[in-house]
Subunit: 346 residues, 2 copies
C-alpha cells in the first residue's frame, strides 16, 4: 500500500495558488510518505513556499510556466489559449504517464474541458462525470454526476453506476458496492423516462455491483448505498443544497448557544462534543471532485479552500492512484456495452 | 384579518386519519378562532375524535363517506374510482365555493391529479406546481416546483415565478417579492436552455416581482430570495436532500453530546439553546405543500405527520385563504402571457 505515486499539481490554481497548494501537498506527504510531486507554475513563487517545507521540497520537481488559466476564463477560451498553462501541463503529465493523477483548485469548467481534450474519454463513453464524496451517518458515499453535464441518457446513468462503483471499490475497498438511482417520490410520476430505463437495465443486467433501486434525496445522508447516481443538474443542486443546509444549521446552532448565560456555559463544557461535530461537518474533509470516465484521473479541489482542504484532495488523488481503477473500469464498461448491444439485438 | 374562512378537510387522509386530522384542526382553531371546517370521511370515526375537542365540534360540519383513496392507489386509479371519496369531496367543496381551501395528508399523486381535474388549471397554465415553505437563516422562502411535474419549459418557469411571488405576497406580505432561478454553478455549462431562456424573459419583462437572477443550491437556506424557481425533479431532490441533511446533522449532534460526561453536562446546561435549535429544525413547522396554478387552493400535509404538523398545514391553508391570491395571480399570468405574445410578434 505504499507504492511511489506521483501527483501532478497545478500550483497556480485556486484563490491562493502556491500559498495553499504547497502546504497542502506537504500535509498529505506527512500522511503518505511514498508520494512524489510535480508542481507546475511560476517557479520563484513555488520555491518561496517550498523553502518552508523541506520534506516536500525533497520529493517535488518544479516545472516552470508563466501561463495560467484565470478563474474567470470560459472553458472555450481556456481550450483555445490554455496550452502551456500550469493546469494544462499538470493534466498533460498524466497523459504522458509522468504522473498518476492531476490535482487543481483552479477553474472547474476549464479543468473539465482540458481533461476531456487531453486525457480523452474512455472507449464508448461520451460524457465523463464529476463524482463527489458525501459524508453519511454511516461513513461516506459517492454521488455522481454533480455537474459535469446537464441531463443524462439511460445508458449514461448506467455508465455512471459503473464509474461510481469503481471509485467505491478503490476508496472503500468493497468488491461489490451498492448503488442507488436518485429519483423523486411523487407517486404520479416516479421519474423521467431515462431514469426508469436505467433502472430496468441496472436491475436486469449482471454487473459488478449491487443495484438497490431508486432512492430519494433524504436517503443520501443516511448512507443507504455506497454510490448514488443522478444526472448533473439535479446532482449539483443536491450537493450545493446539502452544503447550504449544513452551513445554515451551523448558524442556528451558534446562535442557539449564545442566547443565554447557561447555554454559553453549557457550550463551553460540551466543547469536546462540538469539536467532534465540527470535524464531522467540516467541508474540507470531503474536498475533491473526481473526474471519471477519462483515460486518467483528475481531482478538482474547491477554489477557495485552505491547505487542510487541499490536502484532502491530494489524499483522494493518492487513494485513487493506488487503485487500478482505470483498467478495471475500462473492462467493466466494455462488458456492459456488449451486454446492452446483445440485449438490443435479441 | 379575522374573516371567517372555511377549510375542507380530508379527514381520512394520511397515516393516522381522524386521529391526527381532528386534533390538528383543533390546534389551528386555537390560533385562528375565525376558522370553520367541513370534515369529509367516516362520520363515526370523525365524531369519536370531535367529541374530545368541543371547541372544534362547534365550528365543524361532518360529511359522511365510506369511500377513501388508499395511500398506495395510483393517480390514474384514484381518478377512475375516486369520485365520492373523502379526498374528492374535500376538493370538490372548494370548486363549489363551499370551502376556501382543501387540506389532505393523503396520497400526493391522487391529490394532485384530482385537484387538477376538479379545480382545473388557471387560464393559460398547463402545469400546476407544488410550492414548499423552506426555512432560511433570515426567515422562510418559497421553493417551487418540488415535484408536481418533471421538467419545465421556460414559459412554465416564468409562470412558477409569478405563482411563487403571489404566494410570497400572501404569506410574507411583501408587495414585490424577490425571485431567483435555481441553476448550477459549473462554468462550462451554466444551465439548461429552458433555464437560460426563462432567465432572459424574467430579466427583460416588467413583472410584479424583483428578479434577482440565478442562485445556487447553497443559497436557498441563506434566504437570499423570497422565491426559488426550479423544475420539479431537481426541486424535489433539493427539498428531500435538505431534509435528509438536517436529520443527519441532528444525529451527529446527539452522538457528539453523548460522547463524554462533560459533553452530557454541557448539553443539559445548554438545553434551552438546544430546544430553540430543535424548534428551528422541526420539519413539522414548515409542513404543507401548496398546489399552485389551479382555480382553487389545495394544501398537502405530510402523510406521516402528527397533530402539530397537520396544524401547520391548516395554518398555511388559512393564510392562503385570507389572501386574494387566485384573482390577483390570474391577472398577473394573463399580463405575462400577453407580454410574451407581444414580444414574440415583434
Amino acid at each position: 500500500m505504499s507504492q511511489a505515486r506521483t501527483i501532478a499539481l497545478d500550483a497556480m490554481g485556486g484563490d491562493h495558488g502556491p500559498a495553499v497548494v504547497v502546504p497542502g501537498a506537504a500535509l498529505s506527504l506527512e500522511r503518505y510518505p511514498a508520494l512524489k510531486f510535480i508542481l507546475f507554475g511560476n517557479e520563484p513563487a513555488i520555491r518561496a513556499e517550498l523553502d518552508k517545507v523541506p520534506a516536500l521540497a525533497a520529493k517535488a520537481r518544479v516545472v516552470h510556466t508563466d501561463m495560467v488559466v484565470a478563474m474567470t476564463d470560459k472553458p472555450s477560451q481556456a481550450l483555445r489559449r490554455g496550452k502551456g498553462t500550469s493546469l494544462w501541463l499538470a493534466i498533460d503529465a498524466v497523459r504522458a504517464g509522468e504522473a498518476d493523477v492531476a490535482v487543481s483548485a483552479g477553474n472547474t469548467g476549464a479543468f473539465m474541458a482540458m481533461s476531456k481534450l487531453i486525457l480523452r474519454p474512455m472507449s464508448g463513453i461520451e460524457r465523463p462525470a464529476i463524482a463527489a464524496i458525501w459524508p453519511t451517518v454511516q461513513a461516506e458515499c459517492i454521488v455522481l454526476d454533480v455537474g459535469a453535464n446537464i441531463g443524462a441518457t439511460a445508458r449514461e446513468l448506467c455508465e455512471f453506476a459503473l464509474m461510481g462503483a469503481g471509485m467505491a471499490r478503490a476508496l472503500f475497498h468493497i468488491e461489490r458496492p451498492t448503488v442507488g438511482l436518485l429519483n423523486v417520490g411523487v407517486e404520479e410520476i416516479k421519474g423521467v423516462e431515462e431514469v426508469r430505463q436505467a433502472h430496468a437495465w441496472l436491475k436486469g443486467t449482471e454487473l459488478p455491483l449491487e443495484y438497490r433501486g431508486f432512492i430519494e434525496g433524504d436517503q443520501i445522508g443516511q448512507g443507504v448505498v455506497d454510490v448514488v447516481v443522478v444526472e448533473g443538474f439535479a446532482g449539483n443542486i443536491a450537493l450545493k443544497t446539502a452544503e447550504g443546509t449544513a452551513r445554515q444549521i451551523g448558524e442556528y446552532l451558534r446562535a442557539a448557544m449564545r442566547r443565554s448565560l447557561l447555554s454559553k456555559i453549557g457550550a463551553v463544557l460540551a466543547s469536546g462534543g462540538f469539536r467532534v461535530l465540527k470535524e464531522k461537518m467540516d467541508p474540507r474533509r470531503a474536498n475533491g471532485g473526481t473526474f471519471l470516465g477519462l483515460n486518467g484521473i483528475a481531482v478538482k479541489s474547491h477554489g477557495g479552500t485552505d491547505a487542510l482542504g487541499f490536502a484532502s484532495a491530494v489524499d483522494l488523488a493518492y487513494e485513487m492512484a493506488q487503485s487500478r481503477l482505470i483498467p478495471r473500469l475500462a473492462a467493466d464498461l466494455t462488458t456492459f456495452h456488449h451486454k446492452l448491444e446483445a440485449a438490443a439485438a435479441s
